[in-house]
Symmetry: C2
Subunit: 492 residues, 2 copies
């Protein structure tokens, strides 16, 4: 794979001087077209061998294009805030919005490749990490991020020569670090591991482009051309057609919900006692020493007036306000609309020791957006597995993911709407939209059943909560959270 980047290409000074002005002009043009159309964002991942000209090329790209609309991020050591969050959080927060260009110096490849090269993980783990990356990049492509992956290569001999040359000159000596030499020592392993990683992740969505790094002029022109061609190709496309995965078969009847026993009740007396006990238990769990190595992501979905707000209050009543955050999910803001749909949820993902409650969530994609036709079938259909991947990343970080569907029947909703209208409290205002949503009751039930089926995973199962009796629902929810958190704490 890397042999093609060891052919010893060079470019003469004269040829370079001739080619650069045109390339630069064309790059600027492409950048301005992107900025104007805002039809996608460009994310350039910079990887490869130390000393192969990564830094120089990034600086050059900034010089050739308009640096005001390029944001370069050094993805080296994670800050403590980054370490407290799931691994990909740092990438999500640095993602360029549509119209802009982002450069990641180091990326989601760095950690698995380096760990494998130093023998900290096995091939199987590397492979799994690469599979996850393929899915991530596929999703980014679908969400209109052009991911450009540049790998800068040097042969072993070239790398040694380059590091020695840099070290010999006192103006460049600072650039060669101890870890560069340490990496060089395992050149062969690093090469083998990289080759394995790249081969698995060179996809149609985001192919690897390997750049011969020895000759500065050749390297610069090549990188510039790749960026130009990729952006131009993407600018000329409207939407990439992609083979369609079959959408989930609609159930004739939303049986999973119909089968719920909505008559389940908890008596007043039992409720008071159990609520107090469960709140005490939850409070204790969030003061357990291991709480600092976990956290909770709680998702609340269900029909309007199903009692989400009341249930949420019973949870927060057990917690310290400094530890929890409730995220009421409404229409996305302008900044959020310029990003992949999961971006706004990544913004609120908890750090260790935090309890984040989503009052409606990313499941909007396969519920309201599907039912109301706010997004295309292709988009909500792919969301199931994207969401599973997302939740796996949360769970993989040690967070507990609990998901509740609060269920009432249409009659109960009507009763509650009328009751709310009678009270006249602003916070219970019934809007025209609420009445409209009611008409699509069955569509929502079908969508919900498909959702349970596709996204109830072992690490993040759905809990279907009969919610006609509010007290029953609250107890069940608190109990589930306590059980799951306790399990995580025992395990962690």
């Amino acid at each position: 794979m890397f042999e093609s980047a060891e052919l010893g290409h060079t470019v003469t000074k004269a040829s370079y001087a001739r080619q650069v002005p045109k390339l630069r002009e064309a790059l600027l043009d492409a950048q301005y077209d992107l900025l104007e159309k805002k039809s996608f964002s460009t994310l350039i991942l910079i990887s490869g061998v130390d000393g192969a000209g990564k830094g120089e090329t990034v600086n050059l790209l900034n010089e050739w294009m308009d640096p005001r609309h390029i944001h370069t991020h050094a993805m080296s050591v994670a800050s403590d805030e980054e370490q407290q969050h799931p691994r990909n959080w740092r990438f999500w927060r640095a993602l360029p919005p549509r119209g802009k260009i982002g450069v990641f110096f180091g990326s989601w490849y760095t950690y698995p490749i380096v760990r494998r090269a130093y023998g900290e993980i096995k091939d199987a783990s590397l492979d799994q990490a690469m599979e996850e990356i393929v899915r991530l990049e596929r999703m980014l492509a679908d969400e209109r991020v052009l991911v450009l992956k540049l790998w800068f290569h040097l042969s072993k001999k070239q790398q040694k020569k380059r590091l020695l040359a840099l070290s010999a000159d006192k103006r460049t000596r600072w650039r060669v670090t101890e870890s560069d030499w340490k990496h060089f020592e395992i050149y062969d392993t690093f090469r083998r591991v990289s080759e394995r990683a790249l081969r698995q992740t060179s996809t149609a969505d985001a192919p690897w482009r390997i750049i011969e790094g020895a000759d500065a002029r050749y390297r610069s022109l090549t990188a510039g051309r790749i960026v130009l061609e990729s952006m131009r190709t993407r600018l000329s496309q409207t939407r990439q057609p992609r083979p369609f995965a079959p959408p989930p078969a609609k159930p004739d009847e939303p049986n999973l919900l119909r089968a719920l026993d909505l008559s389940q009740k908890v008596s007043d007396k039992r409720y008071d006692k159990e609520l107090e006990a469960l709140q005490g238990r939850l409070n204790l769990l969030t003061r357990h020493p291991k709480w600092r190595k976990t956290g909770v992501v709680a998702v609340f979905e269900g029909a309007d007036a199903a009692g989400k707000g009341g249930a949420i209050r019973r949870i927060t009543g057990a917690l310290d306000a400094r530890q929890y955050r409730i995220v009421p999910v409404a229409a996305p803001t302008e900044e959020e609309r310029a990003q992949p749909y999961l971006w706004r949820f990544w913004r609120s993902v908890p750090a260790y020791g935090q309890f984040v409650i989503f009052d409606r969530s990313w499941y909007g994609r396969v519920l309201v957006e599907r039912v109301e036709g706010f997004c295309e079938q292709y988009d909500w259909n792919r969301a199931y597995s994207e969401i599973n991947d997302f939740e796996e990343q949360l769970s993989g970080h040690g967070l507990v993911v609990v998901k509740f569907w609060l269920h009432i029947d249409a009659d109960e909703q009507l009763r509650r709407f009328k009751e709310r209208e009678a009270t006249g409290f602003k916070r219970f205002k019934i809007t025209a939209e609420d009445w409209r949503n009611r008409k699509k009751w069955k569509d929502y039930e079908v969508a919900a059943c498909n959702m349970f089926e596709r996204t109830s995973t072992e690490i993040a199962p759905w809990t279907l909560v009969p919610a006609v009796d509010k007290r029953f629902a609250r107890i069940k929810i608190l109990e589930t959270i306590c059980d799951r958190l306790e399990e995580q704490i025992k395990k962690g």
Copy 2:
């Protein structure tokens, strides 16, 4: 000052039970009015003596109101990212948008009061910190943040009793930390220092409300009522009238700019040599060991086509792309419009070791917003000192603040506009707005001269750059940056 909170108020259980439902209802109503009108945001600062019920009260406020629209932040130990940024950065990033409620547990008061109590700073420094806070809170008030400051008080005897009681019960023992006892030891000093601080900062914009903390029911009701009354009062106001500071006298002629010698030139040969030397010098400075304890905020203002972009490129050409960020300032986004006008600039304030370039800046307030009438005279008029305070905070953190006004005359601009139109490059597109702005040339010059006069401070002086000769401008800018940064590094 604290005696009024040592009167031994108590509330009986029966009276409490009678009063709470009404208070709660009223609080919820106020919260929903705020959420609907979005006319301001509410920021509650929680301070006071350990054991006086701060945490309990915050939890209760969340319980009484709708916790989905309250965000509580523990402002205790700063994270490493926070430590890398100017001190107030952590508060700015947690500021609630209009319509929402934010609770800061610990605030901008904590650090100066604690430091003074432990003898790390003198009274004079405390007083200065308090003066700065008064100005900050005044600005927040003007920017439609309702700042509610609650101080929870206990007498020395009460505090001791409380800490002992908490320690005796194994369910609450965890809540008493070693530092609580350490604080208790210096109760008298803490009280004296707090009193001094509070007296200076109890203003009409943000008066301190001292709450007697010994009786839980009394404390809860009092806190709830203060929040309710403050929000209700603010909801009923439109805009607070405030005595007007006189705006700067308009100069008859913008002499400061007219006096600039625009004929200054640098020859081709000298330019190439000096540019290289200065870029080399700048590059070296950003690799100095002390670079890790400083950073640069560079502001670029000036007429359209004055050459800001080109000058910026000559700076970034000397830097590593991982260290710099260019912030092109255009219309604020929806999220930014829901915050004080400085908020969006705080978002981009550099950490140590970063070089941030603002292509237009917060000075828009006293330039375009003033000239075009986008904000009222009162608002742009107060901006001068608010901006000085802002820049002082950056500088106080060790950052270098450099501000450039690139000046050309109207004829030169016309020449450049025509030249740009002739090239047909998208990036040089001349819009109708550009032509419109030209008509107000003199108004902008007058506004600029007022701005220089009011905001050229010792720590952040304006550099007026004759920019008809682009090479002259670039050299002058690079030289200024190098000099200022070198000075900072020597000093630091």
